[in-house]
């Protein structure tokens, strides 16, 4: 075997692995460049600021792009993406917010208070839940929950109160946020539980030795120590929520609409289709250049958001590093 020359295998492995990781980086860079290059016409035709602003019905605008002339130079690009952006912020933000509270409490229970036999069951179950494909959640949402909400929670009076603007049929912001929260909570629970478990025993024991009770020790010592991990969990969960498409396309309502907080509780039932779901709803038409470029623009916004998110997470972790673990 001539290629296995003595003394070099380490070096060769190093080179191979290095080349692979560089290849991955190059791949990501190429993908980012492609997305931005393809998205460019949509942004430049609308103006880089007005693209993000409210103005008109976004679905009608997408329809006009789709039905516009098919000869280059005459493409229609007019788009004001605010309703989709707002829907993305609402579904993601609310799901992460509620999910974070829930998962911190759940993680504390699993690590500090659950009896060991229960913990042995909970740990794998949480990890299993984190891996459930989102389309399953979407199916349950569209076949079971949405019709139930439509039949039991939305009164005709509520439907009539907003019927001049939007119709309510069970799919909407509340259901989308709820399912999204259920989807991302297990990831956060397992990350936060991991961090709580890694808090040095001497720290909590020291606190207990000073006469501080268990709950207070957890709250003031363990949780504080785990703050960087909590931020990391939130960032990861937000990333997943931002990119979630199939499930949201199924349950967020088939309409690009900016839910109006002034509608009071009704806002929970208003449709709120976010960016990623809008890509799904229109991806059959990717062969149509102006529409494809518009969809690439949505993708570019998602890409920038996740990049900014990681950056913000990193920045938020810096001051906490001194006392934290990880």
């Amino acid at each position: 075997m001539p290629w296995r020359s003595r003394g070099k295998p380490d070096q060769r492995a190093e080179l191979m692995l290095g080349a692979l990781s560089v290849a991955v980086l190059v791949l990501i860079a190429l993908m980012t460049l492609t997305v931005f290059a393809k998205a460019w016409p949509s942004f430049s035709h609308n103006g880089f600021i007005s693209w993000f602003l409210p103005g008109g019905d976004v679905d009608q605008q997408i329809k006009a792009i789709e039905n516009g002339p098919k000869t280059a130079g005459h493409y229609v690009y007019h788009l004001r993406a605010w309703p989709l952006l707002w829907a993305t912020m609402l579904t993601t933000g609310l799901a992460v917010l509620f999910g974070l509270v829930l998962s911190i409490l759940a993680a504390i229970f699993i690590v500090e208070f659950a009896p060991p036999p229960l913990r042995r069951v909970l740990d794998p179950v949480v990890r299993l839940l984190a891996g459930v494909p989102s389309v399953l959640y979407g199916l349950i949402g569209i076949l079971v929950l949405a019709p139930w909400i439509n039949a039991n929670l939305i009164s005709n009076g509520r439907k009539e109160s907003v019927e001049n603007v939007v119709q309510l049929n069970g799919n909407g912001l509340g259901l989308a946020t709820l399912i999204l929260m259920v989807m991302i909570t297990p990831i956060m629970v397992s990350l936060i539980a991991g961090a709580l478990g890694a808090v040095p025993k001497s720290w909590t024991e020291g606190s207990a030795a000073l006469g501080v009770n268990r709950w207070r020790t957890t709250w003031r010592v363990s949780l504080r120590t785990a703050r960087p991990a909590i931020i990391a969990a939130a960032v990861l969960a937000t990333g997943r929520a931002l990119g979630e498409a199939i499930m949201l396309a199924m349950v967020a309502g088939g309409r690009g609409f900016a839910p109006n907080l002034l509608d009071g509780f009704t806002v929970v039932f208003e449709p709120a289709r976010p960016l990623a779901a809008t890509i799904i709803q229109n991806f059959e038409e990717l062969g149509d250049p102006p529409l494809a470029q518009t969809l690439y623009a949505f993708a570019a916004v998602l890409l920038i958001s996740t990049a900014l998110l990681s950056l913000a997470g990193w920045a938020a972790k810096q001051p906490l590093k001194r006392y934290g673990i990880r």
Binding site: M1, D57, D59, Q60, I62, K63, E66, N67, G68, P69, K70, I142, L143, A146, P147, N150, A151, N156, K159, E160, E163, V165, V166, Q167, N169, G170, N171, G253, G254, R255, P271, Q281, N282, E284, E285, G287, D288
Partner: protein, 270 residues
Amino acid sequence: MRMTRTALVSLIAIFTLGVLPAVASARAVLLDGSTSMFPLVTQLATAYHKATHQPAPHVGQGTSGAGITDVAAGRVDIADVSRDPIIGVDPPGLRFTKVARDGVCVITNPSNHLTNISQQLVQEIFTGQIRSWSEVPGATASGPIDLFQRVASSGTQDAFQNIFLGETLKISPAADAEESEGTMRQAVISDPNGIGFTSFDFTPGTNAVGYQGIPCTLRNAKSGQYLGVRNFWMVTKGPPKGAAAKFINWVTSGNKVTKKIIASDWVVVH
């Protein structure tokens, strides 16, 4: 060394088993487009394979608009299009071949026993002028009307627009947009207040509403009494060529097999 030989042998095996036969036999015709044409075209494709021993055409589904962009770009051989050609919007050079006609029914939830609807009422409901079932004579649902439409590139959407609404009226922007005939049907089945429209083939499970006094049935569509009927087209880039031409010619030849398949749920034109 042994590993390498095993790898080589398995590679060769993969090539001989998988790639060579694919190269040797003729390539199957690729189709894409309308979800309302999908049930018809898949049946035709299977029967074509049985009757002629040509490879069964591969039928994908998207929307009529997606089919048109795909066929114009050469990604598929034939587009299934359930709307008529639109001058100025369709890319130039496409050849439309009519293969069948299809009834488009207005559908409601099965709990709503609306039996007939006038053209004026369809227009008032779908443009959003009438928003409550209490204003619709014959409807047994109560409360606000939930409108469902299809996405922009759908052929059924275009056919509904042209047949039921005409050129100037527009479907209310509040209507929920469904991606396919299947999701449209599901949406109306799960919403007691829903109203939408689908190809006749997708009406089972829903309440198909008569239009202008004529029930939306296959018999009435065939006899020409029911007015909500549109064309099914197979679209090629230029005149059909090669395997695609063979398939289209077989479909439009008016033979016993195609007639039987088309007549089972659609209107025969050849």
